[in-house]
């Protein structure tokens, strides 16, 4: 049996393995068929609703200020593009399936950070998923202009399961912005992402999700960060969703490695959202922080998890906060600190509450109307982790947070 077959065999055994968190989804209700090929090779040629959605999410459809693009619609890869400069530097952007065929060494990164049998979602991705992006940045190459990856669902009932692999080699840098959205009534998105950040490398991974009230979303991500490496994960969920569950993990393997995981989301309608992050401190003098800000309205239920595992001399912090905007909304914060080394310094803070009358009165005494005071608190509440983003992304993220504020206030 070849290595691929072995993986598939393991995956088959996990097809009914439920995830420990989040509501269980019946995956048989979705179409796993390969969608029809469409003749689109640029973002601008996308159907108008998708084009408009792309722009709303900040996708650079003209590709004027990006270093590259990966575009996948349903199960088909429509475009892989990298500027000449970075192509010449040896940066690769392609489908993960193509990468496996092209480079034998890619198998060293395939299901190496995440077990294929983690749960039914990873298992089905291996068995029936299609594509996902593979990005490789060679040693010393700094890709600071954002590289954009767009994973869109257009066909009714589609299950989009992608497997992404990113390798940022020694002393290299990548600024990746991903945008994921779906237009049909019924859809599920499973995104498996394995990140490998080599010695002194840096990956900034900004992920913007824009779903609909009937969609289910199950990202699965793990980053392995080597000595001196830096992983910045900034996740924004900006619209309704039926259910979202994820628990990305950063393993700080090398000395002085760092990881900062930030989640900003709005939970609305009857959404069931269970998000969080885990950082495992293995290398000495590693540092990390998990921050989350949740705006919760209507009858949405949001659980914010955070887990720090200190295995060596390290410093970690969890900062989970929720703002309840409706009487029926529910927020939960579950920080977990596990220290197995006396020199691991792990701390947490968690708070969930409503906007207080005192806060509003105070801001009104400073000249803001009540409406402006509410907006200021809601928008200001989301201001976390932005300072760690590359300057090119800060304005864009600011605009997205403005949109979330308007949506959250109804």
């Amino acid at each position: 049996m070849d290595w691929k077959e072995i993986l598939k065999e393991i995956a088959r055994k996990a097809l009914n393995k439920k995830a420990p968190y989040g509501i269980d989804i019946d995956l048989s209700k979705y179409s796993w068929e390969v969608s029809e090929n469409v003749d689109i090779d640029s973002l601008k040629a996308l159907p108008k609703p998708l084009l408009e959605r792309s722009k709303a999410m900040g996708v650079d459809v003209d590709e004027k200020s990006v270093s590259g693009t990966y575009l996948q619609l349903d199960t088909n890869v429509l475009r892989t593009y990298i500027t000449e400069k970075f192509k010449n530097y040896g940066v690769h952007v392609m489908s993960v399936e193509d990468a496996i065929k092209k480079f034998d060494w890619v198998r060293n990164y395939y299901w190496k950070a995440i077990p294929v049998d983690l749960d039914k979602y990873t298992a089905i991705t291996e068995l029936y998923g299609r594509h996902g992006y593979f990005i490789y940045v060679p040693p010393g190459v700094k890709v600071r202009e954002p590289l954009q990856a767009c994973l869109f669902i257009h066909r009714e009932g589609t299950a989009q399961a992608v497997h992404n692999i990113i390798v940022v080699d020694e002393d290299a840098e990548l600024n990746l912005m991903t945008a994921c959205t779906a237009l049909p009534t019924k859809a599920i998105h499973i995104g498996v992402s394995e990140f490998y950040i080599k010695r002194n490398a840096k990956l900034t991974f900004t992920m913007v999700h824009y779903w609909g009230p009937t969609h289910h979303v199950r990202p699965r991500a793990t980053a392995i960060v080597e000595e001196g490496g830096l992983f910045i994960n900034y996740y924004i969920h900006m619209a309704p969703v039926r259910s979202l569950q994820m628990f990305p993990t950063a393993i700080l393997k090398g000395a002085n490695a760092q990881a900062y995981l930030t989640t900003i989301l709005v939970g609305s309608r009857d959404a069931h959202i269970d998000v969080g992050g885990r950082i495992v401190f293995k290398g000495v003098d590693t540092r990390g922080e998990i921050s989350s800000r949740s705006l919760i309205r209507d009858s949405a239920h949001v659980t914010m998890r955070g887990e720090l595992i200190g295995e060596t001399q390290s410093r970690g912090h969890i900062d989970c906060k929720g703002l309840l905007l409706s009487p029926k909304s529910v927020g939960e914060a579950i920080p977990v600190l596990k220290s197995i080394n006396e020199s691991a310094e792990l701390t947490h803070e968690a708070a969930i509450g409503r906007i207080s009358r005192d806060e509003l009165e105070y801001l009104m005494s400073k000249g803001f109307t009540e409406e402006e005071a509410v907006s200021l608190i809601v928008r200001g509440f989301l201001e976390v982790g932005i300072e760690r983003l590359p300057p090119q992304l800060r304005k864009y993220v600011g605009n997205v947070l403005d949109m979330i504020t308007r949506y959250a206030k109804g």
Binding site: L323, G353, E359, K366, L376, F381
Partner: protein
């Protein structure tokens, strides 16, 4: 500039200020003292229009305009600023609040202006904290005065800016308040301990409030005696 005419203030059904009157001219500093619970802060809150501090009698005028029924943000826009004694924690980063105040009151002004103020008030280290979360007493006073100054006030109400702060901070705050007044702002300053007065460039009138009533209006020169012997000296005047 600011006139308070026979104002009576109620909190719920309790009268906390009775028939208070005062008049502050442009560029004047008026000092208000009095024992705990006398109604000093309540009067400032009523002038600012904070809900819960209801003016049930009398009127408040700014440059002749009756503002008694205006909302706090409307009064703020007209030029009244209150530096609160005990501001609430606000779950927004301090930096963000300052940015928003700049947008509201200083459209078009450069970031350099704010940077200078931040430096002068020594609050750089507080900018990434949520407002008033984990601030020391002195830091709260400095930050509150900074927010008030950012409002470009014509009338600045300062509620105990010198309580619980060290002598260097008091001198610093007094210098800033004096500069504000030299630029034409009128100030009504409530103080318990009165130490700040000697560092101000001027202090025009002293009020003493006891049990909700202003029982003394006159020269500030009696402050040292007040501090030495307490409010009982007022009965000897």
């Amino acid at each position: 500039m600011l006139r308070v005419k026979y104002v009576t203030v109620a909190v719920d059904d309790l009268i906390v200020v009775r028939d208070a009157s005062l008049s502050i001219g442009t560029g004047e500093i008026h000092i208000m003292m009095g024992p705990n619970g006398a109604g000093k802060s309540s009067l400032l809150k009523a002038i600012m229009g904070i809900s819960g501090y209801k003016v049930i009698k009398g009127s408040i005028l700014l440059n002749g305009k009756d503002i008694t029924d205006l909302k706090p943000h409307e009064r703020a826009k007209l030029g009244i600023a209150l530096a609160h004694q005990n501001p609430p924690k606000v779950r927004v980063k301090s930096r963000y609040i300052l940015t928003k105040l700049m947008e509201l009151y200083h459209k078009g002004k450069t970031d350099e202006y704010l940077r200078e103020l931040i430096k002068e008030f020594n609050v750089e280290h507080l900018l990434d904290r949520e407002l008033y979360s984990g601030f020391s007493g002195g830091e709260i006073k400095r930050f509150e005065l900074l927010t008030a100054i950012l409002q470009k006030p014509r009338v600045c109400l300062l509620d105990e800016p010198d309580s619980g702060v060290d002598i260097d901070t008091i001198r610093k705050l007094a210098t800033i308040i004096s500069r504000l007044v030299n630029d034409g702002t009128s100030v009504l300053l409530v103080t318990h301990v009165g130490h700040i007065v000697k560092y101000l460039s001027r202090a025009d009138v002293l009020y003493v409030m006891v049990n909700g009533r202003i029982i003394y209006r006159g020269d500030v020169s009696i402050i040292p005696r007040l501090l030495e012997r307490g409010y009982q000296i007022l009965t000897e005047l």
